[in-house]
Structure formats: structure tokens, C-alpha cells
Amino acid sequence: MARIYQVPSHARLWLTLAIIAASLPQLSDGPWWQAVLLVVVLGWRALLDRQRLAQPGRLVRLGLLLATVGATFYSFGRLHGPEAGSALITSLFALKYLELVGKRDAYVLIVLGYFVCATILLFHRGPLAALYVVGCLTLLTASLAGINYSDTHARRRQHLTVASAMLLQALPLAVVLFVLVPRVAPLWNMQLDSGQARTGMSDSMSPGQVSRLTESSELAFRVQFQGTPPPPDQRYWRGLTYAYFDGTTWRQARPPGWSDADTFYDGRGPAPPWYRGLRAADRGPAWEYRVIMEPSQQRWLYALAVPFTDLDGQGLARDLRLVADNPVSGSYGYQVRSVPAAAEGLDLNGPERRLMLDLPDTGNRRARDLAASWRQRYRDDRELVQAALRYFREQPFHYTLEPPRLSGDTVDGFLFNTRRGFCEHYASSFTFLMRAAGIPARVVAGYQGGEPNGDYLQIRQYDAHAWTEVWLNGRWVRVDPTGAVAPERIELGLRGLVEGRADAGGDAVAGALGRLPVLFRVQQWMDYVDFNWQKWVLGYRQEDQRALIERLLGAFTPTRVALALLGAVLLVTAVLAVLVLARRRDAPARPLEREFARLRRGLARRGLNVADCHSAAALEAAAARRWPGAAGRAGHWRRYFEYLAYRRDGDPPAGELRQLRRRRRALMAGLKA
């Protein structure tokens, strides 16, 4: 058997742990065979290290490689892309451990490990993930330290200490680089399709088609208000509007013949008239807040009615919702100023008005009749809306998360037969009734409510909601029929609702929330940490950097940034160097040593320079030669010093030190320069 490189036994534990730790996230997300592969490799390697098993031959290694590549292709359908790519690199990382032939291979393995750690961050972005990756880095660095210790007696703990110290020293540099290195917009856009794209929203809504609403406690976004947040019943986070109804499904729609500029403004080019109108109506009370979105892979952003932003990275649509320039693939934050009164700045004419009144030509006869009867009785739109709400309130409607399925005329079926449903059913049928009565109306989807945690609100998927907006007195007015049926849904939120109603099928939700108060508190605290992580670390974008640098340096120019970077790195390095060198210096002088140094300095002041290679006796002799009269006192001092320093172990007690000091002063007093 050829001589192969053996990882020193003291470093083996760290290397094995590092490999397991770095692979673990991939193993938990990826296909099962990866775990099998890792176990096989680790087992083989362990036997190899104990010389129970030979290193796999070229053919076996080639076979393993091909099998791994093949399995990756089989599991992912491709070899490129973030998921397949990181799965492949993690597997190859494990395989590399099997073929350590020289020390160089161990270096390659460890460097590959750092790369695998980086891929973890593609899929996991929370503070815990970051902490985990730091742990992996520590283990990898410890193995790196370990294989560089040739001493077979090196201690394991030592490697970990070295690695931790190195990482701690690197930390300030990492912070400097994080803050100052120019952040460029991603050169490529990675489409991550696993685990990230979950949202309660879709671009269409078909009440009655879903018999059970899957409620998830996953976070949708967080909001931090500057000032007091609005009361719960005002927290309607608009995301998208549905204007077109085909009898079963509500969809987003644009008035026929209208262009992009008529319905959307993203800050580029001159503002269209409708945007100027909204801006002109910008008065009255406003809410200011910052929203931090979880990745949704969609462009819809959520905000309270009439949201104004700086239009940097997102635009405002005519139906008063925000749309991001790109799908939200990572945590994404934006600052909003919501002005409810600005809604008056819009008009509703021509094709748009026709769209908001449009209904299928046929179907849902009874609902149309009901609307017509209301129309006859109430001339005033406002009264009609009140009557409709009253209808929902007084008829035996029932709020449930598990409504029966509907077919055919779904609006009629819901209004007159089942009368059981959740927000979508109410919003859909109410909007239908309004349009049938000749009042322009649309369905709005978004989130309602939000749970306070610290100084911000958490809005989760189970807060997803749909409601209606009707055109009253020249402006869009929010009407929430669900509120008429189940007011507590609006006031308490879904969480309050499911706690009160056993039949709402909310067990899963309640379970997800955690019944234990302590657990709940921990959860909330974790979320708080996560929030700040999102806000300060993941949310640190090009614009934030620019603003920060402008505040720190006055201007954002390449020269200034480069100089600041260089300066900061040098400063950090210098501070570290001073700290490290100071530690390397000997321990601080002990009392006897200080006393000795004092005498030497005292003699030097009086013109007698004695090198520090002089012992106490040599010092005495030199002093006695220079000042023969002081010979006695010099001997007096020397004997006592030798007694303290060389006849007794340990630092002398304070009393004896005082005695020595007295003898030194007595000696010095008699000396003349």
C-alpha cells in the first residue's frame, strides 16, 4: 500500500465534526442518499485511519464519483443551479475526505469546506444559520490548525482555542468589510425554488374551490412604526386587487386599452396625472413605517392604504398598491408613508368604471335579484352598503375555515345555501352584490392585523385576508363583510378567533403558536432577534450603505471609500497587533522585580549606570566602589533582597516589601551624584 497522508489523530475529531456540521444543512434539505454517502465515507475513513481498510482504488473512486453525479442529476434533474450545485459540492466534499493522499489534499478539503459553508447561507439566512455557519468555520479552522501541528502530542482543545482566537480576531475585519466594501447589485439572479416561495397570496381567487384554508404561522412580513401603530381594526395591509370576475374566479385586471403608464408609476420618467392627483391630495394624518418582507418570490408588497414611498426599487399602482421591481427573493425592506386621505385624489371614469362594475352576463340570478331589490329600496349608495352589511350580520352566516365546496353559481350557493365561509367568500359575494347594485367595487387581498412584538408587528400567513372596496362619494372606501359576520376576526385576529371557536379547525394554528407561555415568549424573542438581523444585516443594501458612508465620510466617492477601507483595515490590524504583541510580552513585573528596577534607576539618576545583567551582588559591588561610604547600606539592601528573592519562594508579603523599600531608601539617601 502506498504511503498515504494521515490526518494527525488529534486533528481528526475536528475534521470529522467539521465535515458533518458543514454537510448537515444540505443533508436535511437534500435527497436521502447524501446522508448515506456521508456515513459510508466517514466509516471508510475511520477504518482507513485505523489501517483496517485500504484506500479505495482509482476505479472505486471513479465509480463513486460517477454514482454521485448521476444521483444528483436524478434527484434534481440537472447539475447546475443553486440546489443541485450545492448538493453536488457537498457530496464531492464528502468524497474528497476519502482520497486524502497528501497534506495538500487536506488543505483542499478544508478550503472546500469553507465553500460548502458559504452555500449553507444560500438557503438559510437567519441569525441562527449565521451562528451555525460560524460554528462550522470554527471547526474547519480548528482542523486546519490541527493538521499544521506536527507534534503528535498536540492537544485537541488547543486547536479549538487557536481557531476561536483566529475567528475572533477576524471578526472586526469582517465587520469593517461588511460595512465598507461597496455592495454591488447581484450580477446574477438566483432563482431559489425550494422552501422560500410560500405565500398566502395568489393572483387569482376562487371562493368555493378550496374546501379548507391551509393556515400557516409562517412569517409574511414585519412592520416597524415610527410613532404609534394604528389600532388593529385599521391594519389592512393591501397587497393586490381583483377587478375581474368570470363567475367563479376573481382576477387582477387592467381597464381595456390602458397602458402601463396609466396604471403604474415607478418613479422613472414624468409622473402620470393620476399619481400627481394622489400627491396633490397628500394631506391629513399619516402613518410612517418600515416593512421588512420575507422572501415571497412575488412582486407584491404590502402597505396600508395610499402608500407613498421613495419609488426606489418599487412603484405605485393606480389601485393603490406597491409593486416591487423584482420578485422578493430575499429579505426586503422598504419605508412607507401611508396617507388615508390621499385616496380622494383618484377619479373613476370610462373604462375603469366599467371594469369595476363588470359582471358575467349570466349566473347567480338570486344574488342579482337581491341587489336589485336593495337598489329599489335605497337610492343612496351609502345606505345600500349599510343594508348589505346588515344582511350579512342578520342572516345566519357563519365564519369557518373549513367551508363546504361550492359549484355552479358559487355566489348564490354561498349566499343562500351554505352560508359558511371565510373572508374570500364574504369579500367575493359582497363585491358581486355591490356591482350588481351598480356600485363600483373590487376585491382587495392582503393581510389584516398583526401581532405586536417589541416595537414592531409580525404579520403571519394566517393573517391573510380579503375584503372589498367600494366607490363611495368619489373615493374608494374599504368595507369588510367578514367583519360584519365575525367582528372578532378583525379585532382579535385569527389567533383570538381560533382560541374562542373550537369548530374553526384551528388546532394546527394553535399548535403552531405554542400553548406554553414560556415557549411563546422564547419564540417571540427569537423573532425579535431575527427581525433585527433582517433589518440591520440582511437589509443592509446599497442605498443604506451609501447613506451611511455619506454620513460618515461626507461623500460617497471611490477614493474616500477606498481610503476609509484601507484605514479601517489598518486600524483594526494595528489594534490586533498591539493586543497580540502585548500578550506575548512577559507577564507584568512582580513586586521584587519592580523594587530591583527602582534601585537601578535610582543609581542611574545618581550617575551610576549598571547594566541589567548585574545581579544584586554585582549592584552592591558597583555601588560600594563608587560610594565606599555606602558599602554597608548597600550590603544591607543586597542581603535582604537575596533573602526575599532567592531564599524563599513566592512573592514576599507587604511588610517585608516595605522593609526592603526602607533599606533601598536608606541606601539612596546617602548617595550623591
Binding site: 522585580e593 530591583f596 541589567d612 532567592y646
Partner: protein, 303 residues
Amino acid sequence: MQALDKALAQVGRVVLGKQEQLKLALACMLAGGHLLIEDLPGMGKTTLAHALARVFRLDYRRVQFTSDMLPADILGVSVFDPDSGAFNLREGPVFSQLLLADEINRATPKTQGALLEAMEERQVTLDGLTRPLPEPFFVVATQNPVTQAGTFVLPESQLDRFLMRISLGYPAPEVEMELLAGGDLRDAVRRLKPVIEPSGLVKLVAHVGKVRATRDLLDYVQRLLEATRADDRLVAGLSPRAGLGLLRAARAWALIHDRDYVLPEDVQAVWPSVAEHRLQPREGGSVAAMTQSLLQTVPVVRG
């Protein structure tokens, strides 16, 4: 200690004017180490060894090393006894309490190695049988300066087996006069009176280990060792074993001066004899000057 002073005085009667070297040789014995004397022939090396053996009443043997010598000539040999039909070990000169190995660098490395191994292990293995050497056991080896022809230079690893290396050197003029005027030195040695019994010497050796060395002193010793390692004029610094030897020699030196604690001066006194033969200059120059300069740069008390 009075007995030690007396022993010194006795040896001083035959090795004239070499008080320092005598004290070092004595310190080396008390420290339980072996002594290497490097000198030209006829400088009184043999007289010194013999005198030391006399004052401690040690069983003394002398071996003149030559290039045709074999290990058996030192260690001994198994001889077949036809009467008893068994092999008997005939002990070599190494089975003595004080062995004078004269001109050790004349022997081949193999023979040198056999002796040095016995010195280190304090036992001899012959025909699979291990026999301890007598107690106490000292080797005083002499060596011609390596510039002489026909010598095998002792490698550093073996030089390390000797705790100290000293040289006696030519006597001072007045001492030489005295020497010339005096009678036969051989007679004088034979007339020396034993001062300390071998068992007393063993006790003294044990006592050396108890001489106090405080942290301040150990600090100093450590700084000296460290300085040899940091000195780029030297090929390599002193080993930890050399450091332990230095400390032991300093303790013995303190004991000779009737102290039960070590002073930095003790370390400085034994320093050249302990350090010089263990260090090699990188590119020429005098090791003696280098070790001396270390003494003058390393602070005795840190401050």
C-alpha cells in the same frame, strides 16, 4: 561545608593554582555529572582525577583510549570457565567508582559510544545480562583539543552526556615555579588523605537536589536558556536537559559555598563549563566569547 572545603584543600595540594577548576570539578561530581577535561597532554588531568578519587576514597581506574580499542575493553567480556562449565563475566574498567577515560577522542565512535551509553544508563548490558554500575559512578574523560591529528570528534549528542567541560590550562609562572621546586606529584597524590567516604558523597549528591532554587532564580535560568535559542550566532540553543544540568550544577556550586539556596552568581559561575561544549557557533568565532556575552546581556532580575 567544612568537609568540602577540606576536600578542596587536599586536591589543591597536588593541582596547584587551579582553585576555580577544582571547584567546578567538585561541583560536577556533587551534581552527579560526568566531567570532560579538554587539555593538551601533561597539564595535570590525570593528577586531578586521581586526587579526586583519593579524597573521596573512590575505587579508581584509568583507561587509555586508543584507536584499536573495542567496547569489550571497557565494558568487560564473558569468559568460559572450563572448571565450572559456565561463562563468567570479567568486568571491564567501567565497573569502578571513578573512571578516568584518558584521551577519549582517540577511540573509535563505537567504543566511545559504549562508554557514553554506560555513563548515561549507569548500567551495562552484556550477553543479555544487565549489571548496574557501582554507586557512585563518575567518569572523568580527557580529550585532546580536536585540532590534533588522529582523533575522532565526539558528536554533540555525546558531548551532552558530560555535565561540564573544563580546561586546566598552563599554570601561572609562580605556580609553575612551585611545581618545579616540589617533589614527585605521584607520591603527593598517594599521600592525600581521604576526607569524605563514598557513602558520604552519595548523601551529598542527594542533598544537592534539595538546595533551594526560587522562582526568581528559575526565571533567570530560563532567560539564559531562551537567550541561547534566540542567538543567531549559534547553530542551536541549549536543550531542556542542558537547562536541568545547569540548574543542578548551580545547586552544587551553592552547596560548595555553604548555601542551601542558589544565587544568580552560582548560575553564572558554572555557566561557561556547562554551556560551552553544548553550543556550536554558526560560522566560526569563539563559543566562550558568545556564552560570556549572553551572561552580559541577559538581565538577572527582570524589570
